[in-house]
Symmetry: C2
Subunit: 444 residues, 2 copies
């Protein structure tokens, strides 16, 4: 079931953590995203909740008795080193934590507060070294923007850009879990084989068309046993929360390797995720109808169709990609916005992706990561990767300071941002997903 708006979303709530009341913060008391962090390199990672410019340490909260009265498995999960324990809980159980955090952090009206314990349970966000939110068992990448699929298809097959399966099958593929990295981790430009001229020998060397992909990732909740399925009506119960995700891609490598089994080394060198998981409960006010299929498009097959999904399966999540080149940083120029898009542009909802994924009996596990694919909208400015944005380099982008970009250069930093806003509700943000491109290493 899609979570409902409740008291935790009340726009009038304020926090005793003053920075959380700044209208520009991503993390007001209505958000309460969760992540894993280390503080001053001490010990194993701990679970925290972002609030303004601070982190509420949930293990410390448990130690100080601030989680008393919650189901015991919530307290146990809050003492974990990653969010997998919380992700394994049923929505009703994990929902108790959101309510408690809301009360602990609101400035008035909470039945219990963490304010008296602030020195023991708060850490400045600037001092928290963020880790991957979960130990990801499997990472799956979908291809859910019809605009992205059509643009890419048009480059490869001008006559019939969209393959006949696209409007029936939420297309996806297995990604590489080992090379998931948290925002801020530098990304080494990969080496790889590229297509030779007819009859020639392929080159092997650093990719010359390194790209980003603006995506949203969904960390999964309880999941299903092998051989069982997840009906689309229940799929939302298995979505724990969302993050921003950059599916770095080496286009020249991809083009040469991807037939017939799909992308492999063109993607597996790194995938960056933002550290704060915005829970599906926090997103309740920003739900919108699923993508309106144009006249003439087929209706989803019964196993992917559900009334609630059609009415509220979309999420009005505004996304942006920014670029900061080394030269721009040296000239103190601000990051430059390359595109703005919105998750509601997806042809398939997250619930449909989850239901499809499990429809063959494949077991989904707590902490598995399911990404949307490049979130491109219809407009040119809403295209979520350079391949589309520069039309394979044919239309270079001008950067402030005089540079141009066809693909990424060494030293470029890509920054993804996302937030939700709606009249009568708070603005909540996702923080950032950042990564700097490093030159191909000598060892490669």
């Amino acid at each position: 079931m899609i979570p409902k708006v409740d008291g935790t979303h009340d726009v009038s709530l304020r926090s005793w953590v003053e920075s959380a009341n700044d209208p520009a913060t991503d993390f007001p008391v209505q958000n309460l995203p969760l992540g894993a962090f280390r503080y001053r390199d001490e010990g194993p990672p701990r679970i925290g909740c972002a609030i303004g410019d601070q982190v509420l340490d949930l293990a410390a909260c448990a130690e100080r008795g601030l989680l008393r009265g919650l189901p015991s498995d919530v307290g146990d999960a809050c003492r974990g080193t990653a969010l997998n324990g919380l992700m394994s809980l049923e929505p009703r159980v994990r929902g108790t934590l959101r309510h408690r955090l809301s009360h602990l952090l609101r400035s008035e009206g909470g039945f219990v507060t963490a304010q008296a314990e602030a020195p023991n349970v708060l850490v400045p966000r600037a001092d928290a070294e963020m880790r991957l939110p979960a130990a990801v068992g499997d990472y799956t990448d979908f291809y859910a923007s019809v605009f992205h699929a059509t643009n890419v298809g048009r480059m490869l097959r001008p006559d019939h850009p969209l393959l006949p399966n696209y409007k029936w099958v939420p297309i996806g593929y297995h990604g590489r879990a080992s090379s998931l990295v948290v925002s801020g981790t530098p990304v080494v430009r990969p080496c790889g084989q590229t297509e030779p001229p007819e009859g020639g020998t392929p080159a092997f060397g650093p990719s010359r068309s390194l790209d980003y992909e603006l995506e949203v990732g969904a960390f999964l909740g309880p999941g299903n046993a092998l051989g069982r399925t997840i009906p689309v009506a229940e799929a939302e119960d298995h979505i724990f929360g969302l993050c921003l995700l950059n599916d770095w891609s080496a286009r020249d490598v991809q083009r040469w390797e991807y037939q017939p089994l799909g992308p492999f080394l063109a993607k597996s060198f790194a995938t960056s995720v933002s550290p704060w998981v915005v829970t599906i409960e926090a997103l309740a006010p920003y739900r919108v109808p699923a993508f309106a299929r144009p006249e003439g498009d087929p209706r989803p097959l019964p196993y992917l169709a559900h009334e609630e999904n059609e009415a509220h399966g979309g999420i009005d999540l505004r996304l942006e990609v920014l670029l900061s080149s080394r030269a721009m940083r040296e000239q103190a120029l601000a990051p430059f916005s390359l595109s703005r898009s919105n998750l509601r542009a997806l042809y398939w909802t997250l619930a449909q992706m989850v239901a499809h994924h499990a429809s063959n009996g494949c077991n989904l596990r707590p902490g598995d990561l399911v990404a949307s694919g490049t979130v491109s909208g219809e407009a040119k400015e809403a295209r979520g990767c350079l391949l589309e944005r520069t039309w394979r380099g044919a239309e270079p982008l001008a950067l402030p300071g005089g540079e141009t970009r066809r693909f990424l250069e060494d030293g470029d930093e890509v920054i993804l941002r996302g937030h939700c806003e709606r009249e009568g509700f708070a603005r909540i943000g996702f923080g950032e997903c950042r990564g700097v491109v490093r030159a191909a290493s000598e060892s490669a």
Copy 2:
């Protein structure tokens, strides 16, 4: 470096475990494969070594002091619940365990024996419930048989069956780790979408062309850090050992879903592996030259080329697929051999797959699983899946008892077997990888 033949391979060695001296056993004292097992449902899994019809319990050996003198991380790893700890050790370190096991189990000439402790350290193999040998972080499936790729390509593209990248790129894709299961686990026939007639609506239901794929899996050793590579000359150091692997495939689902991102739900419902990992050290006597590329084929690019790999990169591993239908079992008919093949038929060596996999900086981790792809040989009888063996159903196979098979039926049990033999050396086997097809569940 490819492991060398040493005293542990001496054909004259015999074991005090009498069943290990039976010429028909897969597990003589020259083999010493490792696995994870539970005994009588008691406690967490333990690590064991198969010897004849017994299992040597390595944690019990450690407790009894039988591993004294080995590096401490070997002892620690032997107390693990899966082989990941052993897999993380450098070849030289893990090699000390093989030598100790050989001495503990040989009937004479060992500098230490486990015989006196037999009641405390041996378990009948029939009572050991086998588990997945390792916690697999990522599972990758290659496509390394040129005969398989050509046969499949011929069905799809009669004019140019082999794609232009095949002889340059060890083609592979990411598989699903969550649905890896150990031999003996039943496999539920998956449901999925299948291609509609032109302009029609796809069907959704149980696959009607369920297939097996005869493969070999390599569990990886230490691996590499993200952003670093593994030179082909060092790749063998990162192969811990091999198992048999059945990459169950729903051909009708695959055909409809696989463009443009590769196989997804057609494969992710189950992948079976045999429980005993035959170490790369045990395979030393059976090394053979890499596949002899036909005149006119390109030489591997420098990052995939290495003299030792060319001379000894292949493995003479004889493989067989057998089928036992429900009717055959009811009539007490023996499993029927469908094909016989050999790992040496692979166009790419395991070392080349590992080096290619890490060539973009993708980090490989201890316990990761890399599979060969269907091991088809040149002959019709050496084709490793029904798709090829029955030529997409056009040439049904006759089973004993009067049945025929185009694809798998409910109740069919698929059995993979493998062994190595060479004049002057022992015959060592891989045990079996089994799985029975269950009818699509009601819940699907």
